[in-house]
C-alpha cells in the first residue's frame, strides 16, 4: 500500500496530512509555524507520522505547499497552495467550482474546472486586509480568543459598519465603537461582514460559480461562514477538515506522483 504526505507550511500554522492509496486520510496534524519554518515542517511531519503509527520510510512521496514549501527539506516536490487547495476542495466536495480560501495572511479565490484543474485564481496583494490577520487583530483588541469570535458574532442584533478593512487601523475603529458603548457581538459581526464583503469583491474577479467551498483557518469561524453565505446568497461547502485542505491536496498530488512512478 502506498502512503503519501502533504505538508502545508502557512504563515500562521503548519499542517500535515497522510493518505493511503484508497485516498483515505490516515492521520493529520496542525502546529503553530513560529519562527523556524524548516523545523515546523519537521515537527509536523514527525507528529503526523506518530499519529498514523508510521515512519518516514513508509511514505512514498511528500509534497510541500504553502509559503514555506521550499523549506520542506524532506519534501520530494513543491506545489503552490493554489493548486493544492483546488485539489483538496474538489476531493472533499466534487461539485466544487469555486474555492474561497482565507488563511492567516492570504485571501484567495480559485475557479476550478470540471476535472479539478485551476482555471483562474486571484489573491490579495500587499495588504492583509480581509484575512485571518484582520480577525486576530480585532479579537486581540477585544481580548477574545479567535475561536470565540464566530459564535459570539452570531448573537449580534445591530452589527456595526467598520470604516476600515485595514488590519492595523481596525484596532482604532473598534476602540471608537467600544467608546460609543457598542456591544462586542455587534462589533464582531461588523468585522466578519467587512472581511466577507472584501473577500467576495476579490473572488468575483474570477467569477463565483456554485458550488462554493470555503477553506482555510478562517473557515472555522461560523460567523464568517454566515456572513459570506448571506452576501453570496448561496450555501458554502465547509468541511470539518477545511483547515487541512491545502495539506490534503498536497497529499493527493503526492499520491498521483507516487502512483505514476509505480506505473512507469
Amino acid at each position: 500500500m502506498l502512503i503519501t504526505a502533504g505538508v502545508d507550511v502557512g504563515s500562521t500554522q503548519t499542517k500535515a496530512v497522510l493518505i493511503d492509496d484508497s485516498r483515505a486520510i490516515r492521520a493529520s496534524a496542525i502546529i503553530d509555524t513560529g519562527g523556524h519554518i524548516s523545523k515546523a515542517a519537521e515537527r509536523v511531519f514527525d507528529e503526523v507520522l506518530s499519529t498514523g503509527g508510521l515512519c518516514r520510510k513508509d511514505v512514498s512521496c511528500v509534497v510541500g505547499t504553502g509559503y514555506g514549501r521550499f523549506k520542506v527539506q524532506f519534501g520530494d516536490i513543491q506545489i503552490t497552495e493554489i493548486s493544492c487547495h483546488a485539489k483538496g476542495a474538489v476531493f472533499l466536495f466534487p461539485g466544487t467550482r469555486t474555492v474561497i480560501d482565507m488563511g492567516g495572511q492570504d485571501a484567495k479565490g480559485i475557479r476550478v474546472g470540471l476535472n479539478g484543474e485551476v482555471d483562474d485564481f486571484v489573491m490579495n496583494d500587499k495588504c492583509a486586509a480581509g484575512t485571518g490577520r484582520f480577525l486576530s487583530n480585532a479579537s486581540e483588541t477585544l481580548n477574545l480568543t479567535l475561536d470565540a469570535v464566530g459564535e459570539l458574532s452570531l448573537r449580534a442584533e445591530r452589527p456595526v459598519r467598520l470604516s476600515t478593512v485595514c488590519s492595523v487601523f481596525v484596532e482604532s475603529d473598534i476602540m471608537a465603537y467600544l467608546a460609543q458603548g457598542k456591544k462586542v457581538e455587534d462589533i464582531l459581526a461588523g468585522v466578519n461582514s467587512a472581511i466577507a464583503a472584501r473577500t467576495i469583491a476579490l473572488v468575483r474577479r474570477v467569477g463565483i460559480v456554485p458550488e462554493v467551498t470555503f477553506t482555510g483557518g478562517v473557515s472555522r469561524n461560523i460567523g464568517m461562514i454566515r456572513a459570506l453565505e448571506t452576501k453570496l446568497g448561496m450555501p458554502l461547502n465547509v468541511s470539518p477538515q477545511s483547515q487541512l485542505v491545502g495539506a490534503l491536496g498536497a497529499a493527493l498530488w503526492a499520491m498521483e506522483h507516487a502512483e505514476s512512478a509505480v506505473r512507469s
Binding site: 503552490t80 493548486s83 484543474e117 485551476v118
Partner: protein, 439 residues
C-alpha cells in the same frame, strides 16, 4: 530548471554602447561645452533635437539605470523628504532625488539641461515632473501638446482594428497641430544653440532612424518562430537602451545590424534563450527594474519565453509598419509622436495590439505586470485581465509590484502567483497532450 543559457553578444555590445553614452554625458557635465536636451521616451522627436547638436538626456532612463543597479531607494527617499508622496511615480522621485544629489548617479554625472522638452503629455505627472525640473534647473521648458489617439466610433475590439495602421484614428488637424508645434520647437532650438535649422542634416539623421526601425521591426518579427531566438521582454529591454538613447546615429544603426545578424543566426540554428521553450508568453507592462533578474528567473524556471511585449513599444511601434521618412521629416516625426508609440494610444488599441501578439506570435498566455506607483498605465489592467481571460479565454496572470521602488516587490508573493499560474498551464497542457496522444 531551465535557465537563460544564451544571452548573446548583443548584451556585451549594448553594455559598451550604454557605457559610452554615459561617459559622454559625464564629459558634457564636466566640460559644460555641449548643450543637452532632457526628454521623455514616449514617441520623442530626438531626430529633430539631434539635428541641432543637442545631447539627448532621458530622466526616465537615468531613473531605470538606478533601479536596475538596485541604487534607486536612497534617491527616492531624498525626493520623499522634500514632500513627494509615497504614491508618486517612482521614476519621478528617483530622478528628482538624483537632481538633489548634484546629478551625480553612481554610474555617471548628468549634465544640466539646456532645454527641457516635455514631448509626452498623456501623463499629467510627467508634465509636472518636467515643470518641476525646469523650476529647479532654471532651464527653458518647451511642452509639446500631443493629442491622445482615440479609436473611432466604429472601432470594435475583435479584429476590426489593426494596431499599427492607426493613421485614420488621428486626423489631419491633429497632425498639422503637432507639426506647427515642431516648427515652434525649431525656432526655440535655433535660439538656444545659435544654429540655423539644417534640414539636410535632419534628413541624414532620419535615414539612420528609418534603417534602425526597419531592422528592429524585422528583429521583432523573428520571435514568431518556434523556438523564439530571444526573449521579447527581458532581452528586448537590452535593445531598447540603444534604440532610445542613440536612435538617429550610425552607432545605433550598427548595433541593430549586429543584433539582426545574431538573431538571424539564432533562428537558423534554432537557438532559444532557454534550454527548452515550454510556454510562449506575452508580457504587458514594464519590468520591476530592481528585481529584473529575479523576475526573469520566475519565468525561466517554467520554460516561459516572452515572444512579444507591449513595453518594448513604449517609445515607438515599428513592428506594424511605421518608419521614419527622410523625405517627410516633420510629418513623419509627428506621426511617430501621435500614433506610433504605445503610451499615446487608447486602452482599446492596447488590447488590440496584445490580441495580435497572442494570435500572430502564437502565444500561450498573457502576463500583466502592474505598476503600483503608476496608476495611469495600470488603472485599466484589471479590465484588461477580464477581457483576455473571460472574453477571449486566454490564460492571463496579473501581478503587481513597481518599476522602480523596491519596497513594492514581494518575491514570495510574486513567486506564488507565477508558480500557481504555470502549474495550471502545465496541467492543462499535459491533459491536452494526453488527449491528443502526443505523450
Amino acid at each position: 530548471m531551465p535557465k537563460a543559457i544564451h544571452q548573446g553578444l548583443i548584451h556585451d555590445l549594448q553594455k559598451n554602447l550604454m557605457s559610452h553614452y554615459y561617459e559622454k554625458l559625464t564629459r558634457a557635465a564636466e566640460t559644460r561645452q555641449e548643450k543637452s536636451a532632457w526628454m521623455l521616451i514616449s514617441g520623442n522627436p530626438v531626430e529633430l533635437v539631434r539635428a541641432f547638436g543637442f545631447l539627448p538626456v532621458y530622466p526616465e532612463v537615468n531613473a531605470l539605470q538606478l533601479g536596475v543597479r538596485k541604487q534607486a531607494l536612497p534617491f527616492i527617499l531624498k525626493a520623499e523628504e522634500r514632500g513627494y508622496s509615497m504614491d508618486n511615480c517612482a521614476y519621478v522621485k528617483a530622478d528628482v532625488g538624483l537632481y538633489f544629489s548634484g546629478l551625480k548617479a553612481p554610474f555617471a554625472t548628468i549634465p544640466e539641461p539646456s532645454l527641457i522638452l516635455c514631448n509626452y503629455v498623456g501623463c499629467g505627472v510627467y508634465l509636472q515632473w518636467f515643470e518641476h525640473l525646469a523650476e529647479y534647473t532654471n532651464a527653458p521648458i518647451f511642452n509639446l501638446d500631443i493629442p491622445t489617439v482615440r479609436p473611432s466610433a466604429s472601432e470594435g475590439l475583435q479584429g476590426k482594428t489593426q494596431a499599427g495602421t492607426a493613421a485614420d484614428h488621428s486626423n489631419a488637424a491633429d497632425q498639422r497641430y503637432v507639426m506647427r508645434q515642431l516648427e515652434e520647437l525649431i525656432a526655440v532650438c535655433e535660439r538656444i544653440t545659435h544654429r540655423d535649422f539644417d534640414e539636410a542634416k535632419l534628413r541624414r539623421i532620419m535615414e539612420f532612424s528609418r534603417e534602425t526601425g526597419e531592422l528592429w521591426a524585422q528583429i521583432k518579427a523573428m520571435t514568431r518562430t518556434v523556438p523564439s531566438p530571444f526573449d521579447a521582454f527581458f532581452d528586448a529591454v537590452t535593445m531598447m537602451g540603444p534604440l532610445y538613447c542613440l536612435r538617429g546615429t550610425e552607432e545605433c544603426l550598427d548595433f541593430f545590424r549586429a543584433v539582426h545578424r545574431e538573431m538571424t543566426e539564432r533562428v537558423e540554428q534554432r537557438i532559444c534563450p532557454l534550454e527548452e521553450e515550454r510556454f510562449r508568453i506575452v508580457i504587458e507592462g514594464p519590468p520591476p527594474w530592481p528585481f529584473l533578474r529575479t523576475f526573469r528567473d520566475l519565468f525561466s524556471k517554467w520554460g516561459a519565453v516572452a515572444v512579444a511585449s507591449t513595453y518594448s513599444t513604449v517609445g515607438g511601434l515599428w513592428e506594424f509598419g511605421f518608419r521614419h521618412d527622410p523625405d517627410r521629416p516633420l510629418e513623419s516625426i509627428s506621426e511617430h509622436m501621435l500614433q506610433y508609440n504605445l503610451t499615446n494610444r487608447s486602452f482599446l488599441q492596447r488590447y488590440e495590439q496584445i490580441r495580435r501578439y497572442i494570435t500572430e506570435w502564437n502565444a500561450d498566455a498573457l502576463i500583466i505586470h502592474s505598476v503600483k506607483s503608476c496608476r495611469l498605465f495600470s488603472a485599466g489592467q484589471g479590465d484588461m485581465r477580464e477581457y483576455f481571460s473571460k472574453e477571449l479565454g486566454i490564460p492571463t496572470l496579473l501581478v503587481e509590484s513597481d518599476l522602480e521602488d523596491p519596497r513594492y516587490f514581494s518575491e514570495a508573493q510574486m513567486r506564488n502567483r507565477v508558480d500557481a499560474f504555470f502549474e495550471s498551464l502545465a496541467h492543462r497542457k499535459s491533459v491536452r497532450d494526453r488527449e491528443a496522444g502526443t505523450c
